[in-house]
């Protein structure tokens, strides 16, 4: 088997990722195995104090720059903003599936109905959970926006099941990208970060299932929205064709090809990008 390694220009790229790597001394201690939600939220009780302490003057916060400790300077408001942003998306998803399930004859009984019902169940619980957590931060959960899932008449999701599924795919793939984009903003609080990641992978499972229900693969190829997806949903997929991770063009270190690389890494969206997409459906 002849393999061409001539194009492996990784040196410079790897230098970049080394800049991301840091070594820290950690004291060995007993390793607990399971991070339960209960543990996570029990710890949240103490969060008020931590957050108050974190609200130190900016100049002082700057002293600890460039490590996790400085990230502790994320204020309660910062954390609540992230969670309220997530809550807005969860409201959107929960309402969308609820309306679909409430529309007689829209969702075929059997497999499809079971799937949509389970997804709705999860989204509704994400809404409840986020509200509780935002409350526990001493912040106020945003109220549910008014949604128009026709986007001003562009779509007919509750009259056309294929359109319903197409929007479901767009919402789930957006959800995955949105949580991913916010993970870094929660890094100062391991419990919140973990909970967000636990939601993130559920959204990914949903996305995969809805895509497969539509006859697509569960993963995203290049920046393709896939067959049958309205052109208006392209913003959900822009940037998914990225080949460079941590400064490494993955096609130069792996033989799976560009298509394979794009499928292997999901890309984030920032808050603005997500709200632009979600904004189509918020009145």
């Amino acid at each position: 088997m002849q393999i061409n390694y001539q194009n492996l220009k990784t040196e410079e790229a790897i230098m970049n990722i080394f800049k991301l790597l840091k070594n820290y001394d950690v004291k060995p201690e007993g390793m607990e195995n399971f991070i339960s939600r209960r543990d996570a939220f029990e710890k949240l009780v103490g969060l008020g104090k931590k957050a108050a302490f974190a609200a130190i003057p900016l100049s002082l916060a700057g002293v600890a720059a460039n490590n996790k400790a400085s990230a502790q300077s994320a204020t309660t408001e910062d954390l609540a903003d992230v969670l309220n942003f997530a809550l807005t998306l969860e409201y959107l998803e929960a309402e969308f599936y609820t309306m679909g399930l409430d529309t007689n004859g829209l969702i075929p009984s059997g497999k499809d109905h079971s799937i949509i019902e389970l997804i709705k169940f999860h989204e509704a619980h994400h809404v409840d959970l986020l509200k509780i957590v935002i409350d526990s931060l001493g912040a106020t959960p945003v109220s549910k926006p008014h949604f128009d899932f026709t986007a001003g008449g562009a779509f007919n999701p509750f009259g056309d099941y294929q359109q319903f599924l197409a929007l479901a795919q767009a919402f789930e793939d957006t959800g995955v990208r949105a949580y991913k984009g916010q993970a870094g903003n929660l890094i100062s609080n391991g419990d919140l970060l973990t909970a967000a990641l636990q939601i993130h992978s559920v959204e990914a499972r949903h996305a995969s299932e809805v895509r497969r229900l539509r006859g697509l693969k569960g993963w995203i190829l290049q920046d393709q929205r896939g067959e049958g997806m309205p052109a208006q949903t392209q913003a959900v997929y822009n940037g998914e064709d990225n080949l460079v991770q941590g400064g490494v063009d993955v096609t130069t270190v792996s033989l799976v090809g560009a298509d394979g690389v794009t499928e292997s890494f999901d890309e984030p969206l920032n808050k603005h990008e997500v709200l632009t997409i979600a904004g189509l459906f918020i009145v």
């Binding site: 950690v26 201690e29 993970a183 973990t194």
Partner: protein, 244 residues
Amino acid sequence: MSKTSKSKVETPLVSRLNGSRRSFIKYGGATLAASGLLISGCEHLEQILPDKGKGKPEGHPRPVNLGRGDTGILNYAYALEQLEAAFYIEVVNMPYDGISDEEMVIMEDLRKHEVAHRDFLKAALGDKAIISLTFDFSTVDFSNRQSVLSTAKTFEDLGVAAYNGAGRLFESADLLLIAGKIVSVEGRHAAAIRSVLDEDPRSFAGSDVIDGDGLDRAFKPGKVLEAASPFILNKINANQLPKS
């Protein structure tokens, strides 16, 4: 072609890492330093071929120390991706009896993705990458659909739980993001495997993995490595990984 170009690529990489970045490496154990520095970067060819260590491996594969800090977490991820990649390489080389076209495409795709994850992490870690691990898939009947898909389901769900649990251990937000880019793909895999394997249409996000609050699992490294240990012959030392 591969011989010369390989050395061209790897030599400057290894020498550079032995030099300027040397001080970066603070492992106490000389054994670990040796295993990490001398072996890594020389195994591309072997890694895309079926793992020679499958089935009944000879001798005792060397123990591995994942290291500390973000490096340790990346090595932890690299170990898991090696496991998944080796598994799907085997599955695709020897598809089970009666595999459907759809299932074959899924297996080929998953092989591609896990190999990409593995190769990326190896490149990202450079000379701090752990060695290629030796796997034991003797408990898997590769001719049997149920056996293969059940194992795939275990690996994908475990991968999701592993990355979910490891996120909080990262110091670097950039590396956290990269882990996030990988974990959602593992979640997509888990759902697809479950939907072809299980009869219950809700299995893709079944209550065995998603709790009553709609949260997926998050496991600490100790639990993940324990679950993976029947398949990995190397002894893996995760004691230096960050604890919280």
